[in-house]
Each structure stands twice: as C-alpha cells, then as structure tokens.
Symmetry: C2
Subunit: 146 residues, 2 copies
C-alpha cells in the first residue's frame, strides 16, 4: 500500500455511497489511516453551506459536491436530539433515510437534509442539500453537500 499525496491526472473523486460509508467513514470512526486526505474535518454547525466550498475543495476543478467529516452536535447535553442550526439557518431532514448496502450487508444509512435560512419552525428554504451518512453501529457521521 502506498501513501498518496495526490492522485494521477484524470481521476475525479466521485465516490459511491458504499465507498463513503464502508471505506471512508468506517476508517475515520476507527481512527485508521485513510489513503488520501480527501475528506476534510469541519464543524458543520459553525459554518454556512456557502463557506464549505472553499474549505472542502479538491484541486482546481469546478465542483458542485463537497465532502467532509463532522461530529453531530447535541441540542441538549443530556438528550438525543441533534442540533442542526448554524448562525444564519438550519438543516432540516427531508424524505426517508436510505439504506446503504455492501455485498448485501447493511453498512450504513443516508439522511437527506435541506438548508433553511432563518429559525425553525420558520425559515426560507434554500437550494443547498446535504447527505448525512452514518454507520449502522455508530453515531458519528460523514456528510456530503450537494
């Protein structure tokens, strides 16, 4: 196994859900080495969606998807509800979570969220969409912003 400082010309990062969960997120949660530091750590609830582009960009090409790791933030220290608010808005789940399989085994789930400007239960819906991936056995999450 080599250590990668970059990938050869012509390769683009277009991971499948399975690769995101079963390789990148699984390694991250286990604190294992990932071949290439292609997914950045961010604090999602301290950053607005439009500021993620600069932090998470890969190389010089145009992107319309950005990948990052972020810890879930609890709404209350003793509770299980997740705080999904940023300074100017909040992320709100939409639709059903999608199951992610690897060789017919369930390895994770993908939640889709939409960014609203303002404060719940009000707020103005935006075009920012996020996919939040989680391992089936773990609370940590990797998120993909579209």
């Amino acid at each position: 196994m080599n250590t990668f400082s970059h990938v050869p010309p012509g390769f683009r990062f277009h991971p499948t859900d399975e690769e995101l969960v079963d390789y990148y997120l699984r390694k991250k949660v286990a604190s294992k080495r990932i071949d290439l530091d292609v997914i950045k750590d961010v604090d999602l609830y301290k950053i607005e969606p439009w500021d993620l582009q600069e932090l998470c960009k890969l190389g010089t090409e145009e992107q319309n998807e950005w990948y990052f790791f972020s810890h879930k933030d609890k709404k209350y220290p003793t509770g299980t509800r997740t705080n999904r608010a940023t300074r100017v808005g909040f992320w709100k789940a939409t639709g059903r979570d999608k199951a992610i399989y690897s060789k017919n085994n369930l390895v994770g789930m993908r939640k889709t969220l939409v960014f609203y400007k303002g404060r719940a239960p009000n707020g103005q819906k935006s075009d920012w969409i996020m996919h939040e991936y989680r391992l089936e056995t773990d609370e940590n999450s990797i998120t993909q912003l579209l």
Copy 2:
C-alpha cells in the same frame, strides 16, 4: 512523486481532453513514466470494438468508455493514408477534428470516428464511437472509445 499501484477508493478515471493529450499522450510519446498504468496499449486494427472492453477495463466497476494507446497503421508502406480496418469492419472519421487547448496553447487535436461493419465504401454503421487524440507535433495517437 509517488509510484501508484492503485488510486484510493472513490476516484474514477474521467480525464479531460487536455489531460489525455497534455499529460498521458505527451508522456507516452516521449517514453516518460506515467503515474499509473491506467491506459493500456492495444493494436486497434487487430481488435474489434466489443473486445476492447475486457482489455481496457479499470477495476470492477461498469464502464461505457475505454481508454487505450495505439499506433497508427499505414494503408501502404510508402503512403500517408491511415489503415483503419479491422477484421470485421472499419473506423470512419466523422465531423471535424476538435482543437484541444491547454492554457490557451493548442496542444492536440481530437478526431471522432464511427465503426462500420463490412468493407468500405459499404458497411453497416454501428453505435461504436472513438475519439482519436493526437499531439499537434506528432503522428502517434491516443484513442478513447465511447
């Protein structure tokens, strides 16, 4: 610079015309080392398009484009015309060649060809399309099959 034996999970080979010409083909023609042996050598005129898939596949995923290097074959030893016939058909150019630029400099040209079964001037048009790349200064070519 590392030597790559593979690329990390999640990366797909989707090169731009500029990368194909100005990195891969330029290095190949100069016999320089290419980071990853991702483009195979084939003798295009000894192989039918549908047999290229197996030779040129990358990893295990589904592909609908295949990349390879091939030398041009002359129709007659003393001439400049290119032999583009295979055993069961031939490649025929279509449309105009497209100029390929890198930082506003012309670096190569891309010719589009369609595969016909049978023998010219007859033959039955197929859905196989090829892009043949050439350096502006060199007769060698890299080709991309769609």
